[in-house]
Symmetry: D2
Subunit: 161 residues, 4 copies
């Protein structure tokens, strides 16, 4: 039995229309590859959009929620994990993902990028300019930056290839 | 879209042959009902057996692991959630489960029964005599005790019915 | 530099008058021994009483709170640790304590006894009858049962002696 | 009874000599102000140095450790909190601190800055250039940048004043 690849998709609870559309498309492509999608599980922003994209295309969606109830869970999350641990769940998000994709977001998303890199996870930034702060991790082969969902998929395929 | 029922199956990392067989059978019956199985995810005891039973019968299995790697994950766990949080993950086990089934186990399993009851989750003991310590929760309709996997399924069906 | 002994005092958020008085007295005796007192930090029941007892006698009090704010913290807690992790903080309570004392309580307290024993911590029950469920740990020298705060102190002194 | 101010000092487990000296000095000044110092608790880098500075000047030091034992705790940490939760403890670090100071560090420190800002904590960067990534939080009055331990103290005093 082989474990399916789990792709973590991080990003803001509020997001621009373009970012929402890209997140939906990313979720769709992840599902088409036969990979699982993991995110923060809430019914908002990048989380809702990426989960909907994956579910609309038959993918499995796992949401790691900060809450102790499912009230704020996206209905496109098939497997809602209730942590009751607030933002401490960000650590679980990155540990559980084989590869992390970061869409545009605020401090929460940046904390996930940082926790992922700290724990030697590969991170792909999609349309998200984090400046020079993580440059040391680019040279280590942990951090990648692309512009489109298609390029995310290509990068993942080259990383696991 | 409807969320699938998630049944948590707790129990020892080491267990008797009879308990292992009952856990396998319980996993099988949970899968046949179309429910998801959640457990502690490790490749040992009740965890391994219940996950194998569910997977052998087409069920979805979710494991909430204490570790920050998948090294000790059961290969019958389809979705390994890596918490890196040791026994603090027991809290996630019970929050995420709609109903908790406790097979025989030691202090870890007892902590899960206690955390579940504390958080108003219904708990079904299968062949596990916990004495009188949780008696107050029986009268509240939170704690049930049965002897066979079939009775567990009947109890769950009557609780959700 | 030597680390001070940290005694964890667990027990219910609601408690009888007699249990409240015993918890106060226990906190007082812990402080007089020069030990730190750790508990769940809230302004209720055994937590409030044991912290007040220790502070009234010059002790250091550490509270591991379930919340992400200090609103429900006891004012007798000198060092409020805000976990924002709900009952997952019970794991921190027992790991951080060198020895755990359990006063009467409900499922939360039982979860702490169980997590402590699972992690090889010595547990002293004070006036708390947990039945036979943890008997295996008595014979391992991990579980003790006494009736008074004075006996708790004697037991701790013999354990660390 | 009044709660003492808790100042969180974050920073790398390995650090330059200049940064180590500044962290020691910062710990010393925090203690002289009568504030508690909180950090990640390990016997390395900014953690060890800031704790030593505070203890050498009579301050209380609290360490929130990632481990389930005290083996890697700094001996200058008076109150070692064992979380057993790896980097999830970063969330506790920032919640528990009234104000967070970030000394130079890597991805772990950046995750703490991000988690602090996400949770509306004021953050003071000491000699740590994080680029433009957190600029939105400067304008909200949450993020400050200074060069010396003395300026950190001045900034804290103006924030609480």
């Amino acid at each position: 039995m082989e474990t399916q690849l789990i792709i973590g998709v991080m990003g803001g609870g509020s997001a621009s229309t373009a970012d929402i559309q890209a997140a939906y498309q990313l979720g769709a492509l992840i599902a088409k590859q036969g990979w699982m999608l993991l995110n923060g599980g809430r019914n908002a922003g990048i989380m809702e959009a990426s989960a909907k994209g994956a579910r609309d295309h038959g993918g499995i969606t796992v949401g790691i929620l900060p809450d102790d109830t499912a009230r704020r869970a996206s209905r496109f999350i098939q497997i809602p994990i209730l942590t009751g641990m607030g933002d401490a769940r960000n650590y679980i998000n990155v540990l559980t993902s084989h590869i992390v994709v970061a869409c545009p977001g605020g401090a929460g998303t940046i904390s996930e990028i940082a926790l992922a890199l700290k724990n030697n996870k590969q991170v792909i930034l999609m349309n998200f300019d984090t400046g020079e702060i993580f440059d040391g991790y680019r040279t280590k082969g942990l951090l990648y930056a692309v512009n489109t969902p298609e390029e995310v998929i290509d990068t993942i395929n080259s990383l696991i290839g």
